[in-house]
């Protein structure tokens, strides 16, 4: 449902993928006492980009809601300061069998919910099974789970349908109290969410504000410094900056590129940023229309310069990306980025014309580029459209669609609906998160998250697709790496996508806020094993 849902969907994918990567020790959590001591209390005013709409993790499906729920609830595991796992409600990392389809997790005996009830294995089971049973909108996040066994009060065993490498990310799912939730689901979702996190839900008016308050009886080690946090949605970038400037908000999320320097120039505020785990790209319809021809895709790559476009319209809120994988993956997997980078083409209209000519595309062709309601992606689309006009096409159209219309159009594979689209995907730090969902022809991706149909229609596409699917269920890192490199090489050559950029999670933070931490996947941390935000008076 809209961008949020879509991004959330992809964001949640990060939780379900990957296993062997996160070698973060569980010990890092221990001994994390409030070392800042000092000024306790106060209200932090936080401006979100959109209003949250629900607070029951079982049904929850959008980023703004998740941003808040991470403080009201705990998952079995959570992220450390980057992309590693730390146990939260769990006592330790999960025990995994050799076939990698059984996960056993032990729950911290001290953990309890805001209503005083202990966190039990039944609650955990409910939290994971309810989406499937209730057929919620986000049920596909846990669809790899076959069954869950309650071993004892404190121990659960997850039985998977198939070996699923990134399952530890799935285990980040927030845990709800079964009894309280099933009592009145509606009320639990919107009026009285109960979790085990450091903050209690106080009040919410849709579109207006959400207030959470420090839970004084928190069972965990780190008591938040903040007394209350009030989240307010401020959709308009300029207005958000204005509320930062005049002190209405202490922290704002999302800084438009044009205002970056303005925030940088503020005396009493600064920017905190971290590269997000995401991927924004221009994609071609390889199912229908001229873009099925690789020559045409090549030609289109020549009508504009993605470097230029990103530098003009995205930086400094994001960075240029040359492959489907964000920098963190390039680093961790040691991908041959330089080679992939070489597939980038400079703008060369003559070359483009020649290629179009070769491919025999009529100059009267009606190009249709669809973009979601997002300025940056729209600008990329307009840049391509301008390039096509320069190359001699007179009928080029950029359609900025609402999320609803966009999501139903970009997967039809019909050239009347789109020749190209721009889209983003934020995933977990595993190549599978990007390669499988965007470029494979698996049943649950083609025409669902993959609107290019490339994996379906060309030899290269089929080959690459097979490699990505294979890499998914392999448990060997080197084998997977090789498969991804081979598959991605094919992608770079075939150009079903032109990689564009990844965004930073950027925040404007007033100087009275200390120890605020932007986070690559959780957006930001207010209180965790590695930080604890406080307000200076």
């Amino acid at each position: 449902m809209t961008k949020d849902k879509f991004e959330k969907l992809t964001e949640i994918n990060r939780r379900r993928l990957m296993k062997g990567i996160a070698g973060v020790s569980a010990a890092s959590m221990a001994g994390c006492i409030d070392q800042f001591g000092g000024s306790e209390g106060g209200t932090l005013n936080f401006a979100q980009e959109k209003s949250p709409i629900e607070f029951d993790p079982v049904v929850l499906n959008d980023v703004p809601s998740a941003e808040i729920c991470q403080y009201v609830y705990h998952g079995l595991y959570e992220y450390d300061d980057t992309t590693g796992h730390v146990p939260a409600l769990a006592t330790d990392m999960p025990e995994v069998n050799d076939a990698q389809d059984e996960y056993v997790v032990e729950i911290d005996g001290d953990a309890e919910f805001h209503n005083g009830e202990p966190v039990t294995a039944e609650d955990v089971k409910h939290s994971f099974m309810a989406p499937l049973e209730e057929e919620t909108d986000n049920a596909n996040e846990v669809s790899m789970i076959n069954s869950i066994d309650v071993v004892d009060e404190q121990t659960v065993q997850f039985n998977l349908e198939y070996a699923y490498a990134p399952f530890t990310y799935t285990l980040h799912r927030n845990i709800v109290p079964k009894a309280a939730r099933t009592d009145d689901k509606e009320a639990f979702n919107t009026e009285n969410p109960i979790g085990s996190g450091p903050f209690e839900f106080v009040d919410w008016t849709e579109g207006e504000f959400v207030e959470i308050e420090r839970w004084d009886d928190y069972w965990g080690d780190t008591q938040p410094n903040l007394q209350t946090v009030e989240f307010t949605p401020v959709e308009e970038g300029t207005t958000r900056i204005t509320t930062l400037q005049n002190g209405d908000n202490d922290v704002i999320k999302g800084i438009p590129p044009d205002l970056w320097s303005e925030v940088e120039g503020m005396d009493d505020a600064s920017i905190q940023q971290v590269a997000g785990v995401g991927y924004f790209y221009l994609a071609f319809n390889c199912n229908d229309g001229p873009t099925t021809d690789p020559t045409v895709r090549q030609a289109i790559d020549h009508v504009f310069d993605m470097d230029q476009a990103v530098s003009n319209f995205v930086e400094p809120t994001g960075v240029r990306q040359y492959s489907p994988y964000p920098q963190v993956l390039i680093d961790e997997w040691d991908f041959p980025i330089d080679e992939w980078k070489s597939h980038h083409n400079e703008k060369d209209i003559d070359k483009a014309k020649q290629l179009f000519d070769e491919a025999g595309v009529s100059m009267d062709y009606d190009w249709r580029i669809i973009v979601p309601p997002d300025d940056k992606r729209e600008q990329i689309g307009v840049t391509v459209s301008n390039g096509l006009q320069e190359a001699g096409f007179s009928n080029t159209e950029v359609q900025r669609l609402d999320w609803g219309a966009f999501l139903s159009q970009y997967i039809t594979g019909n050239a009347d609906d789109y020749n190209m689209y721009t889209l983003g995907w934020s995933g977990v730090p595993d190549p599978d998160s990007f390669a499988y969902f965007l470029l494979s022809r698996a049943e649950d991706t083609l025409a669902i998250t993959n609107g290019t149909y490339w994996g379906e229609n060309s030899d290269k596409g089929v080959q690459a697709s097979e490699k990505f699917i294979e890499a998914r269920s392999s448990d060997d890192f080197d084998e997977r790496r090789q498969l991804y490199i081979e598959g991605t090489n094919l992608v770079m050559e075939g150009k079903p996508h032109i990689p564009a950029y990844s965004l930073k999670n950027s925040f404007g933070v007033r100087s009275n806020v200390s120890d605020f931490a932007a986070h690559p996947t959780d957006q930001f941390h207010l209180v965790s094993d590695h930080n604890n935000v406080s307000l200076d008076e």
Partner: protein, 325 residues
Amino acid sequence: MAQRDTEQSFDESGGGVAEEEIESRVGLRYTLSQVRRDPTAMFGLYVVGFMTAIAIFAAFDHYVLDYWFAETFWMHPHRDPSNIQRLLPPAWSENVFGEGIWKYPLGTDHRGRDVLVRLFYGTRIAISVGFLSTAIGMVGGTIVGAVSGYYGEWIDDVLMRAVETLYAIPFLVLVIAFMAAFGRELVYAMIGVGIVQIPTFARLIRSRVVSVREEDYIEAARAAGVRDSRIILRHVIPNSFAPVLVQATLQVGVAILIVAGLSFLGFGAQPPTASWGQMINQSRDSMIVNPWFSIWPGMAILITVMAFNMFGDGLRDALDPRLQN
């Protein structure tokens, strides 16, 4: 007794921008000759003429020359310049993005395109949608109003309830819903804004027709077996033309405002086509750092709509001397 004739039902008419019932006792030609003596109205007319000329030229360059003129002698209104200098201020000032240059007298937009050239080509959208949608409203409203007023009875009832219904849903909401249903392109904005104007014209025409209907010459024509459609077309409508023209002039301004609002919300001309409302929308992110990018298109709308209002006011005053200054 002459004065009493002109006193007709002013209470009902209200004299609003949207809903003015204008009593005309004199012909169109006389009205125009009166307007000629009103400097404010003439100024409005000149500005309207100027903007229309720009719009026609822009449309010609767009449809016929495919921006040959713009590219050869000026700049392409959509295409990115080769050397992008984004969000430059007007030539005489500077901001964080740099110092204004005379190449871009009013500055550049978020894509580094010349604001002036986009304002120039944006005139086409404002003027064409303003005129065409009003024309749709006028024709639709005239038909509905004439039929309703001429036939009376249940036809009148049905049509007037329909018109009230159309009027009851806020213009902007109705057009947004309409465009959500049929498409966000300009043509649907045009039709949508046209449709929401139907009630205004229908009421105006209807009230005229009701009074004309009983005139002797209409009775005579009817008695002579002239077809109803012919009576309406040849006698009833021409008789109401002057007030409709005044209303239409004012309505063009209203339509331009509605379309600007729609474009601002993303319903209307789609990028990269330049339209004023959309320029304001696009300027929102950079409003703080380069307010000029917001100011210019706002001024363009203001001046154009004001010109239509000035001219329309002049026409109305000429038609209805009681309201004269």
